[in-house]
């Protein structure tokens, strides 16, 4: 049995710490011990195959029962690659977000902004052979949260991705360029170094816009990549 090619170690500065005092909810939830480093085994190198047959795609969040959601309609698209620049094909991309008023279609969201009956805010798409994905939605609103500081989350869309190895599993958030709340947001500011933060901000992309119909934002996502050489057994 040939050992699977190991994943590259996490690049310094590219990921947030688990212990992030400015984000109060981490206080009792971050492990106090560092994670145990282990070799990449078949378990981490393999991944579930998510097929549209079992996981129905849903790529237009801007319409419910033929009725338009309130807000700025936009297309969000990008490429999913690994750290070696190779496209990740067939990746399942799940997204969820607040409505234009900053309210989630979620029982536990008690923010007294209005719900929009024509917006649920959940989608699922798959990358093509070149790693490209695309969906249509509306721009989410900012909303208050109970964390020390200005206490409003910047506009964002949650992304969840499964790649072709379970170690690539990623949940992240996409932010918008020029949002003044980014400077005060504990979660965004805690993401890692400046380059790591920059990668979380989408670009307004004229090429993705549809005249008289939708704005376009590009958000490329990088999943962990495999090392060039097989792991040497110690």
């Amino acid at each position: 049995m040939v050992d699977p090619i190991p994943f590259r170690p996490v690049a310094p500065g590219s990921q947030p710490p688990l212990d992030l005092p400015s984000y109060r909810s981490t206080a009792h939830r971050h492990p106090s011990q560092p994670p145990l480093r282990m070799p990449t085994t078949l378990t981490e190198a393999s991944a579930p195959s998510f097929t549209p047959a079992w996981y129905a795609p849903h790529d237009d969040l801007s319409v419910v029962d033929g009725k338009q959601a309130l807000g700025e309609r936009m297309i969000v698209a990008g490429r999913v690659t690994d750290e070696n620049g190779r496209p990740v094909a067939g990746a399942m991309v799940e997204v969820w977000q607040a409505n234009a008023a900053g309210r989630y279609h979620h029982a536990r969201d008690q923010h007294d902004a209005p719900l929009d009956p024509n917006f649920h805010g959940e989608g699922r798409v798959f990358t093509d052979a070149e790693g490209r994905y695309s969906f249509t939605t509306i721009k989410p609103g900012a909303y208050p949260w109970r964390n020390p500081g200005p206490g409003w989350r910047p506009q964002h869309i949650h992304f969840g991705l499964h790649g072709n190895g379970f170690a690539q599993r990623l949940i992240t958030q996409m932010y918008f360029p020029g949002d003044p709340l980014l400077a005060f947001d504990a979660i965004f500011q805690g993401s890692g170094d400046d380059a790591a933060k920059r990668r979380l901000i989408a670009d307004l992309d004229p090429e993705l816009m549809r005249p008289d119909w939708a704005l376009g934002y590009r958000f490329d996502i990088v999943l962990r990549g495999r090392a060039a050489t097989p792991f040497e057994n110690a």
Partner: protein, 179 residues
């Protein structure tokens, strides 16, 4: 090389992508309907460093098939939300032993990943099965200090019922893994 995109918390509203049926890998209208093997449940409670239950976590499961293969014939993926008491519960088939590094063999195990508000990235751990003779030879368990190994070993609570509690922080803290 461009480093991987930074992880961010799943937040408190991730349930918008919660599909409770996914906790049952053997569901009648799912990809594993009729799959042969030993049916089991794997359940547990997640608690935080203050001893409070974690009622808003997403737990994802990934495992090999009963023969220890990840070839995809068995769709070894599940997702479960913890309830108000911090409990999760999956229904699945018991996985087989999986080839490990070199010529080693990994004892049957299930990978669990926890996402939640207050977790800036997912925490990965494993559930092994108490009483399995292959635990002694498992190359990953061998790396875990003996005192903490028990945090990775599910205990039987009934016929086909297994339990593994997860402690995010503090005394009895679960061993989390990274590659």
């Amino acid at each position: 090389m461009t480093p991987a995109t930074a992880s961010q918390t799943a937040g408190p509203y991730w349930h918008m992508i919660d599909f409770p049926a996914w906790a049952d890998l053997l569901r009648a209208d799912g990809p594993n309907a009729g799959a042969a093997g030993e049916r089991i449940t794997l359940a547990g409670v997640i608690t935080d460093g203050a001893g409070a239950v974690v009622p808003d976590a997403m737990v994802e499961l990934w495992q090999a098939d009963p023969k220890g293969s990840y070839d995809g014939a068995f769709h070894g993926f599940g997702r479960c939300a913890t309830d108000a008491q911090g409990r999760f519960c999956f229904m699945t088939l018991k996985p087989g032993a999986v080839p490990g590094p070199g010529n080693s063999t990994q004892a049957p195990h299930i990978t669990l990943t926890i996402f939640a508000r207050g977790l800036m990235s997912g925490l990965v751990t494993r559930a092994y099965f108490a009483g399995d003779a292959r635990l002694a030879e498992d190359p990953i368990l061998a790396r875990v200090p003996e005192m903490r190994r028990g945090t990775l070993i599910a205990k039987p609570t009934g016929q086909g019922e297994w339990r593994l509690d997860i402690r995010l922080q503090g005394e009895g803290e679960t061993v989390f893994l990274t590659v």
